[in-house]
């Protein structure tokens, strides 16, 4: 086996936000850094190239952020979405870090902007990246290159060589053995691994392998190879291996990298029927941004893991324009035929719903009083009769955003074996997100976690080789609450 002669201080495995943050910090500390990205250059950046914002704590208005979003409120939000599956000290560290990290991000070329039109509800909590995640990733790569980080694309790592919980070398798919004094794993979850997903979701009572009908919203390169390797090597893990963040997206999205634009935002304005032409859940339970993750799971439970969002002309122009045209028809029967569900059942479902709609004042910007009475499931808000041609149907499928399974870690970002932290092997980003986000999700928290742990892991990996970061300590001690 060929061993590479150049031995970097820090080897960073991965090429998304977490890996880049680590590489930049380690390099700033003076360490020599080699980065291995599994993707070719044109697909670099993992799921990070699809992101749009960062959730930021702030005590007062901060450039693009309005009002205040104090630590406590952020923490309560996180506590709520995770249902307590979080580690408070680590979570608070991430939260506090988010209040001070943006100058550093700017220094490396990231630009922020006020919220995108249609996302004003997060104007207070989230700072948006101008141009989105790919612009962010591009900026970090440019900065890393300028600072002298060596970057190799098309370099998937197959396994690691470990000795007593210490990193020795990485072995690439092509068989190259790369030694380094320390290593940061920033290679995402296992969401892109269809085989593993199939296993994790298992077979349902209808005998279907649920995950076979899933779409992956992000990269195809997060195959979880090193996650699996670390589990097999006995590393401490965290997070439910059978869980994933799963949202309802347009069924016509590509298998990978459909990203943000494939979402369907008209669910709450109409009804949703499954393959049997039946409704199955309250479409108007809450605002769509608060419900789209629940709908991923709901659709996953339907036969064929598919469903259709049905709206009429009245809804047009009231939701973010979808990327694919809906199936359009002048009558509801025709629509049923076009989407291939049983027209008779479909009409029964819609007639029952229409008959149940109570008079009210429709307001899609508030939890209004338009609801149904006497139909199951009820629709509790925005329930309006579906009667105005043309009618539209948008097909839905579950789309996987990320998985929760990861490496157990502490405030240093170290990987752990039997509760003992490694001195030179660290992990960051989605690989450790489960420590803070055991389940659920709230917009922008993935990047908060990835940026915090990415920077911390990079600094500590460099420190383990004798390179102290010149300025980070103050920021870190604030984040760590010292």
């Amino acid at each position: 086996m060929a061993t590479t002669l150049f031995m970097p201080d820090v080897l960073v495995i991965g090429g998304g936000n977490a890996a880049l943050c680590s590489a930049l910090m380690a390099r700033e500390a003076g360490a020599s850094v080699l980065m291995l990205e599994s993707a070719p250059k044109e697909w670099r950046g993992g799921n990070s190239m699809h992101v749009r914002n960062l959730r930021c704590m702030h005590e007062e208005p901060q450039d693009v952020l309005v009002e205040a979003y104090p630590e406590e409120e952020y923490w309560q939000d996180l506590l709520k979405v995770t249902g307590g599956l979080t580690d408070e000290p680590l979570a608070r560290m991430v939260i506090r870090h988010s209040s001070r990290c943006r100058p550093w991000m700017r220094k490396h070329g990231v630009h922020f902007q006020p919220p995108l039109s249609g996302a004003l509800h997060v104007a207070r909590t989230n700072a948006f990246f101008m141009g989105g995640g790919k612009a962010l990733v591009n900026a970090y790569y440019r900065s890393a290159e300028a600072l002298g980080v060596e970057i190799r694309y098309d370099s998937p790592v197959k396994s690691l060589e470990l000795k007593d919980g210490e990193f020795v070398a990485a072995i690439t798919e092509s068989g190259e053995r790369i030694t380094a004094k320390s290593c940061v794993l920033g290679c995402g979850g296992f969401e892109s691994n269809l085989e593993w997903q199939r296993e994790a979701w298992g077979q349902n009572e209808r005998g279907e392998w649920t995950a076979e009908n899933f779409l992956i919203r992000g990269t195809r390169f997060n195959q979880g190879v090193l996650l699996k390797f670390m589990i097999d090597a006995g590393a401490d893990t965290i997070g439910d291996p059978t869980q994933a963040h799963c949202v309802a997206i347009d069924a016509r999205a590509p298998l990978y990298d459909g990203g943000i634009c494939t979402r369907i935002d008209c669910v709450s304005l109409g009804v949703v029927v499954n393959r049997e032409a039946k409704r199955f859940y309250d479409e108007g339970e809450d605002f769509w941004p608060k419900r789209y993750a629940i709908w991923g799971r709901l659709v996953a439970q339907q036969p064929g893991q598919t469903a259709w969002s049905i709206i009429d002309q009245k809804a047009i122009g009231r939701f973010m324009p979808p990327v694919f045209d809906g199936t359009k028809a002048n009558t509801l029967e025709e629509l049923a035929v076009k989407i291939g569900v049983d027209p008779a059942t479909f009409m029964d479902t819609l007639n029952a719903y229409n008959a149940a709609c109570q008079p009210g004042i429709f307001d899609h910007t508030a939890l209004d009083d338009c609801r149904t009475d006497g139909v199951t499931p009820a629709k509790t808000h925005w329930a309006r009769v579906i009667d105005t041609a043309p009618f539209y149907a948008y097909p839905l499928k579950p789309g996987i955003t990320f998985t929760y399974l990861g490496m157990k870690t502490d405030a240093t970002g170290a990987c752990r074996f039997n509760e003992v932290p490694s001195t030179n092997l660290f992990a960051a980003g989605e690989m450790v997100a489960g420590n803070v986000l055991g389940k659920g999700y709230t917009a922008g928290v993935g990047m908060s976690i990835g940026t915090a742990f990415g920077r911390i892991a990079g600094v500590n990996a460099a420190a383990s080789t004798g390179h102290r970061h010149p300025t980070f300590h103050e920021e870190l001690s604030y984040a760590a609450g010292h």
């Binding site: 699809h50 101008m130 141009g131 943000i260 009231r318």
Partner: protein, 403 residues
């Protein structure tokens, strides 16, 4: 959604399913803009870069006029290509600047006056070459016909010994006025189609009327500062890759203001001549020579810089078919300024007549091609920016909910 490849063929229906009547049938290039805008409209990550995306979010569908408007609003800065998560090799193959560039040049053609001259854009290199050789030949022949030769005893820089002033004023005046007329007719046709009040809706007309003054002021600053070559964050636009640079804007400033200074020099000289009976040659410290020299310097630095950037630009985002038009125009500007300086230096020598003929020939070529080449971009872009600034002050009819 595969990219559309045959750009000339009309596509009925386009990217939006709404019943499109045949008069509105989109060409393949326009349909490609509509297709891409539908993706961008569902994504919107690039909203901060320029005016195109905010204009897009006011629409759910993109008809022919919308595509023409957006194509001319795009400055081809490149930011949204490098930032695009759906750019090739992604199967959505989103490439906004290229789609816009392809339709942009078609709009110059479609709105050309007289319409038959629109074909000149298709052979832009040839057009420039013909205009140039025609202009040169014309003045060489005229010089010989009027004076019997091109090389002569020094004439103390008195151009009008070679060509009488009124003759030049008439010749260039007529050509220039024609060029301005042709451009004006073209842009009026364009404006009629994209006008923010095209629907004739009374509320719109009222809102637009109120918006006019501030909109004009903002459009003028957008043009004068080339705001949208700044990339939204002020770091500039892209050239060969995803790195930002302000040099395109700077070189364009040299070019544009150089052009305007040269134009001012001519206007001042005309005033001198007719109002104050001050005749050329003017001293080195006179207003026309100073203005002309400063402008000329701008028109040397600017076009050289733009040419350099043009040559190293990423072909992925350009419409390579337009290289001839862009580079032809750049070369013509450069020739005008270079021959102008040569004339200034040689005006007291035996070669004045020769250089005068060469310089006037290039200026003539520039004037002749103004309405039928790259110059049109300045006019159409300014019109699109004006529309943008009016439209954004009008109420938005869409009421999109939460996300």
């Amino acid at each position: 959604m595969p990219p559309v490849t045959d750009l000339e063929a009309p596509v009925v229906g386009g990217a939006c399913e709404a019943g499109v009547n045949f008069a509105d049938a989109l060409t393949a290039g326009e349909a490609e803009i509509a297709r891409i805008m539908q993706i961008c409209n569902a994504c919107r990550y690039c909203e901060g870069f320029c005016a195109v995306f905010p204009a897009m979010t006011r629409r759910l569908e993109f008809n022919k006029a919308d595509t023409h408007y957006l194509a001319n609003l795009c400055h081809n800065c490149g930011s949204c290509l490098y930032a695009c998560q759906y750019a090739p090799p992604h199967e959505f193959a989103v490439n906004v600047p290229q789609a816009m560039a392809r339709v942009r040049v078609r709009t110059y053609q479609d709105y050309t006056w007289p319409l038959a001259f629109g074909r000149l854009y298709e052979r832009a290199g040839l057009t420039v070459a013909l205009a140039l050789s025609g202009g040169l030949a014309l003045f060489m022949i005229l010089a010989i016909a009027m004076n019997g030769r091109l090389i002569h005893e020094p004439l103390a820089g008195d151009f009008y010994v070679i060509f009488p002033h009124n003759f030049l004023a008439l010749l260039f005046g007529v050509v220039f006025l024609f060029a301005m007329l042709a451009l004006a007719v073209g842009v009026v046709k364009f404006w009629r189609e994209v006008s923010p009040t095209r629907d004739g809706n009374l509320a719109d007309i009222k809102a637009a009327a109120q918006a006019r003054v501030p909109a004009v002021a903002e459009a003028v600053t957008d043009v004068a500062r080339l705001r949208y070559l700044g990339g939204g964050h002020g770091d500039g636009c892209n050239e060969g890759d995803d790195a930002f640079t302000l040099w395109r804007r700077r070189f364009h400033h040299f070019t544009l203001y150089g052009f305007l200074l040269c134009f001012a020099a001519t206007c001042v000289a005309t005033l001198y001549h007719y109002l104050w009976n001050l005749y050329a040659p003017y001293g080195f410290s006179s207003a026309p020579v100073i203005l002309g020299s400063l402008g000329g310097i701008g028109l040397i630095i600017g076009p050289i810089g733009l040419l350099w950037l043009n040559l190293k630009r990423d072909a992925l985002r350009a419409d390579v078919k337009q290289n001839a038009m862009d580079r032809g125009f750049i070369m013509l500007l450069l020739l005008v300024s270079a021959t102008g300086f040569a004339l200034l230096l040689l005006r007291d020598t035996r070669f004045m007549a020769l250089w005068l003929a060469i310089h006037l020939g290039t200026v003539m070529a520039l004037f002749l091609t103004l309405p039928y080449g790259k110059f049109a971009h300045g006019i159409f872009r300014s019109a699109a920016l004006l529309k943008f600034n009016i439209e954004k002050r009008m109420p938005n009819r869409l009421g999109l909910g939460g996300e």
